[in-house]
Amino acid sequence: MKLLLGLSRPTSGEAWVLGAPAGTREARRRVGYLPELFRYQHWLTAREVLALHCALAAMPRDGWSRAIGAAVMTVGLDGREDGRVGTFSKGMQQRLGLAVALLGEPELILLDEPTSALDPVGRHDVREIIRDLRSRGVTVFLNSHLLTEVELVSDRVAIVNKGRVVTEGTLDGILGTDEVRVRVTGGDGPTTLAPFGAVSHAGEWLVVRGVAPDRVPNLVAALVAAGGRVHAVEPRRGTLEERFLELLGEPSS
């Protein structure tokens, strides 16, 4: 993200942001940014910080107050605009950072770990904000270690390990197909299940990959027909975390 904004200098390669070379003023003009290290001028009030960013973003002055009001409302800081940033909790400062990133109707918003300081309510709010931005056609570039958060809001995901993209694509593409976990005694489980998908053992469980949800009843019927006693069936989708560990060659729990 810092490279895209020109805060860091690339050692090699090139990148474009919204059609302009990364790091140029042209590229930064239509971008909102919430840094991972979110700190704002603590001697200013929230409103003054937002006004400062309106000025820096070269927004026409008559639109400031409306833009500030809308941003403050969106992130849930309304009523606290005139409080000193220094008196804000970390969570409120992160909300302020999000409001700063939303100012000026950017086409691209870069969020670096946007929920690191937020409680569950705050995380929920941020998810709603991201979904709302998406519905308005704004691209949100979210950077996070909280894979469940990523999973909940992302259309496309890239997994980066040690500076290299390990995999990249739609969430469905990366998570792969659905799987079913069954606990069955008697009968020849693995052989019976083989036609439904790739079968593997996980302790007492058998895991079948690539089973569409509507085929689960057929799968159970086949097991029973083969003389198996079915104790439990858990149709589930793999999580991003499992996929992540798998891609990195770590054993998933």
């Binding site: 020109g6 805060l7 200098r9 971008v31 940014y33 919430l34 840094p35 700190r39 001028q41 001697w43």
Partner: protein
């Protein structure tokens, strides 16, 4: 650029830096005012006159003025030192502090040139230095005039020299701040300032003893940091004609103390000081543009 300059001024005001400086300065001015008012009550050292002599000679008006002029130079010396220190302390963390805390991240992600950010900071701080120098020196001069009716010959020049000295230190500290943490940059700037001061005194001694090698030390230190030469300009603007004559007759010996000036600074040196500030600012911009945030 102006947005950043205004922000810098507002920061100084909000963080009570200005208030602290102004209150302390007012106290110092009041204290020196009392000191000046006592000069006219001083008497000649009694010597062998004997206690039976009823009328001890009060100091003549000229003597009072000469003492006041010298005292004023020492007081201004203290002000220039406070100004220099404040400029260094304000500028040394101005860039590095914001990078370390993360405040710079959100600001520099905006379509703002690094150059404009740095020059904006410089303008804001320079405005504060100029305002403080004009206010503190102006108030002190007004106070001295009110108390004993003495005004040095070139009050406007004095302020300009003080401002210039503050700007040199400010620019040095700001340039260091693009690469070094506030504490390291501040210490380095103060050490360089101290060495330049010492260089001025040592160079003066070189002139006294007609030793070219030692004189060169003074010249080199002025090239490295032109603060001492600007201070000499301030002294010159504070010296009444009588002191100037005295300094001239004392010849080069007067150069060895930082409280006398036998002549105003050479215009070539003043040009160098201006060029030095411009050069240091350019270097600071160059360094800041290459800095990873």
């Amino acid at each position: 650029m102006l947005t950043i300059a205004r922000l810098t001024v507002r920061e100084a005001a909000r963080r009570r830096l200005l208030l602290a400086l102004l209150v302390l300065t007012a106290l110092v001015i009041a204290a020196t005012g009392w000191g000046f008012s006592r000069i006219s009550t001083l008497s000649e050292p009694s010597g062998s006159a004997g206690a039976d002599q009823l009328l001890q000679a009060k100091l003549s008006l000229l003597q009072v003025r000469l003492i006041a002029a010298q005292l004023l130079i020492v007081v201004m010396y203290m002000f220039s030192f406070v100004l220099t220190l404040s400029a260094v302390f304000a500028a040394a963390p101005a860039i590095s502090g914001e990078i370390e805390s993360g405040i710079a991240l959100a600001v520099l992600a905006r379509p703002l040139r690094r150059r404009d950010y740095l020059v904006g900071k410089w303008l804001g701080l320079a405005g504060l230095v100029a305002a403080y120098a004009a206010l503190a020196a102006g108030a002190e001069l007004a106070m001295v005039q009110a108390v004993i009716g003495y005004l040095p010959p070139e009050p406007a020049q004095l302020v300009l020299y003080l401002v210039a000295e503050g700007l040199v230190c400010l620019t040095l500290a700001l340039a260091l701040s693009t690469r070094l943490s506030g504490m390291v940059g501040g210490v380095i700037a103060l050490v360089v300032f101290g060495v330049a001061w010492l260089g001025g005194v040592v160079g003066g001694l070189g002139v006294v003893f007609a030793n070219d090698a030692i004189t060169q030390i003074g010249t080199v230190s002025r090239l490295i940091l032109p603060t001492d030469l600007l201070w000499r300009g301030a002294v010159w603007s504070l010296e009444p004609a009588a002191t100037r004559a005295l300094a001239a007759t004392a010849g080069p010996a007067a150069l060895a103390t930082p409280f006398f000036a036998a002549a105003p600074p050479d215009p070539a040196w003043l040009l160098w000081a201006a060029g030095w500030v411009a050069g240091a600012l350019t270097l600071a911009i160059w360094s800041f543009r290459r800095r990873e945030i």
